[in-house]
């Protein structure tokens, strides 16, 4: 869809002007149309076998998250235990997501389980610090055993039009990630327009993001369906243009099975099958898992169990 991408990626970011010209040359997003499309996909009726499959798929895509100032090693250990064995014969989740200082605890608890350790680095959630601090924050998390780094972009720089600064920060953090995957958080609630969401998505992908992620979960609105839709269109178009696949992670505000399934429908009908795996799509959530487990049991038994039948952490 983006025919402007004929020059090499390096040329696009050769200067602030070329980067700006490229990002502003992307097709616009019509807010009314995008909202309508997302709303329509939200009416898909997913029942019976499709629902059972969707619930297990959603569980396997969850980045089980705790990002509180009050987090302790004990709390993280408990969450990691649940990540591996959420309950019954439900599949394990994709990853746990913690602050950098708790990565070592999570890595130790999860060793050999296949569940990844993700960490929010780069002066999460505001991103308001120097590049040196962000890079060392990242290096700390990676050294402690993080498989994935969730970085926030500098929204101030983005909104003031300094795309090159944002680009260079992502490049630097990606370098600090080493073998770890980089998820770039756009904090779409602060970007305000859908055009900005599309531009920020491309900016992150051009700079080397392995995943683009909607939100920190600390700003409202967070992962709305239209924003996820636009990001899915961006990764689809980016792969068409460059051959490189980038994952998508909506995060923040996804609490119910219904929300999760709506997200899977968005993936299914926008980016398609190739993204319907935990390798390419994640759901960042803290309270979603129990609702998925509850609906899973309801589907299997025909009855709802009370909340005490599902573990707290």
């Amino acid at each position: 869809m983006v025919s402007t991408l004929t020059t090499s990626l390096a040329d696009v970011a050769a200067s602030g002007a070329t980067l700006r010209a490229f990002l502003h040359g992307l097709p616009g997003v019509d807010r009314v149309g995008a909202d309508q499309r997302a709303a329509m996909l939200g009416t898909r009726s997913i029942k019976t076998t499709a629902k059972a499959k969707a619930i297990d798929l959603a569980i396997s895509m969850v980045d089980l998250t705790t990002l509180e100032g009050a987090d302790t090693a004990g709390k993280v250990r408990a969450m990691c235990t649940k990540a591996v064995r959420p309950g019954g014969d439900a599949p394990k989740v994709a990853a746990v997501c913690v602050y950098p200082d708790l990565v070592a605890v999570a890595a130790e608890t999860l060793r050999g389980s296949g569940v990844k350790v993700a960490s929010v680095a780069t002066a999460f959630p505001s991103g308001r610090s120097s590049l040196e601090v962000k890079v060392s924050d990242t290096a700390l998390a990676v050294a402690a055993g993080a498989d994935e780094i969730d970085m926030v972009i500098d929204r101030g720089a983005f909104l003031s039009g300094d795309y090159l600064k944002v680009f260079e920060e992502i490049v630097a953090v990606k370098a600090a990630c080493g073998a770890a995957h980089l998820k770039v958080i756009l904090e779409t609630g602060e970007l305000a327009t859908y055009d900005n969401v599309r531009r920020a998505s491309w900016l992150a992908m051009l700079a080397g993001a392995d995943f683009i992620k909607t939100s920190t979960g600390k700003v409202s609105p967070a992962a709305t369906p239209p924003v996820t839709l636009i990001m899915l269109e961006a990764v689809r178009d980016f792969r068409d243009a460059t051959g490189r696949q980038v994952g998508v992670k909506p995060a923040g505000g996804i609490r119910t099975t219904k929300d999760a399934i709506k997200n899977l429908v968005l993936v299914n009908e926008t980016a398609g099958d190739d993204w319907l795996t935990p390798d390419w799509f994640r759901l960042g959530a803290s309270s979603l898992l129990n609702d998925l487990l509850m609906q899973r049991q309801k589907l299997a038994t025909g009855r709802y169990a009370g909340p005490d039948y599902f573990t707290l952490d």
Binding site: T48, A50, L276
Partner: protein, 475 residues
Amino acid sequence: MMAIFEYAPAPESRDVVDIKPAYGLFINGEFVDGSGPTFKTINPATEEKLAEIATATSDDVDRAVQAARKAFGVWSALPGAERAKYLFRIARIIQERARELAVLESLDNGKPIRESRDVDLPLVAAHFFYYAGWADKLEYAGFGSRPLGVAGQVIPWNFPLLMLAWKIAPALACGNTVVLKPAETTPLTALLFADICRQADLPPGVVNIVTGAGDTGAAVVAHPDVNKVAFTGSTEVGRIIARTVAGTDKKLTLELGGKAANIVFEDAALDQAVEGIVNGIFFNQGHVCCAGSRLLVQESIQDELLDALKRRLGTLRLGDPLDKNTDVGAINSADQLAKIRELSEIGESEGALRWSPACELPDKGFWFPPTIFTGVAQSHTIARDEIFGPVLSVLTFRTPAEAVEKANNTPYGLSAGIWTEKGSRILWMADKLRAGVVWANTFNKFDPASPFGGYKESGYGREGGLLGLEAYLDV
């Protein structure tokens, strides 16, 4: 290896609607037998017979017109606020019985339940609410407040209930009484509406429904005691009606065919334009008189737009209209399917390139896959004639002036669409396009407050909105 995410069938239950084996005519508040031979209405998705329907002969039509004439005295004498009460009541009953009406509409018409449930029925209720609001405010509309008398109304099969609402709501609000003939392939929701009129205690004779084919419609139109004729349907039949009515003092509104241009500029929001193109031509299987059947795309983005459109068509879900996940339902009748096939074959034989996504069609029923023709020129038959099916002709242009020229170069003029991020161009284009409705960055959006109607062979008169009152008042 992760399995593909397939949606299990999610059929809406048809138990919510009770279809009788046979239906009569609705005259003077009663269901009565028709004098003509009965005919059957079928489910176009399965070819299953739904019910036997009565045929109204000219004698039956006369009885219906006499009933309407008698009721006119009572109905037109009511204060506007009283008529409004009935219309509000009807609107609310429609909302309460929306599910039943939507299921019946999908069964009889073949349209997806998603559309009958989420588009048709909310609009039907909205039209009754809207005109209920006008009933006691006619003095302020600027057309006086004298009703015309008996309205003879003939409606098509593509939006059976919505077209009924467009016709009946303003007529009653203005104090007229009606004799309405629904299309012979889709009479069931009109007959259920008759039941709603009874439930609302509407005085007998205010609404009469006569069923049958073209002869019945002709009898309604030609009846000497009908004061106003309203028709929605083909241009061909519209011409016959215009000839019949010519020289009489009947008022006439015609809402006929279309061959709308959907114009996409290179600076358009492409993903939304693709949605708009899909909605413009594949909504209701393309059985839409204002369908965006001619895509005019700026040459510079032709390839990327077509790639995106084809990819999008690959995700359309065709099948059981009662499945909540169906996007494209059945063609309404075998006749219509034959017409779509014939025109598509002409398109190919004249050299346009035909494309459809890989798509399995059900064994029974009337089905046609979403189809795109590329390399179409203005001179091709498929760019001139209304196909009234899920068939899109793609043409290109280079400049805004050329887009306007091509868009207007059609015998029709019902609607047009413009896709561009440039507001000034939208206004410039809208001013120059000879079409009754011009949508900007959207398509097929309806609202009871917006008048709708055509230029040239798309007919005359306006329905909906304030202007919609004019057609039912002695101005």
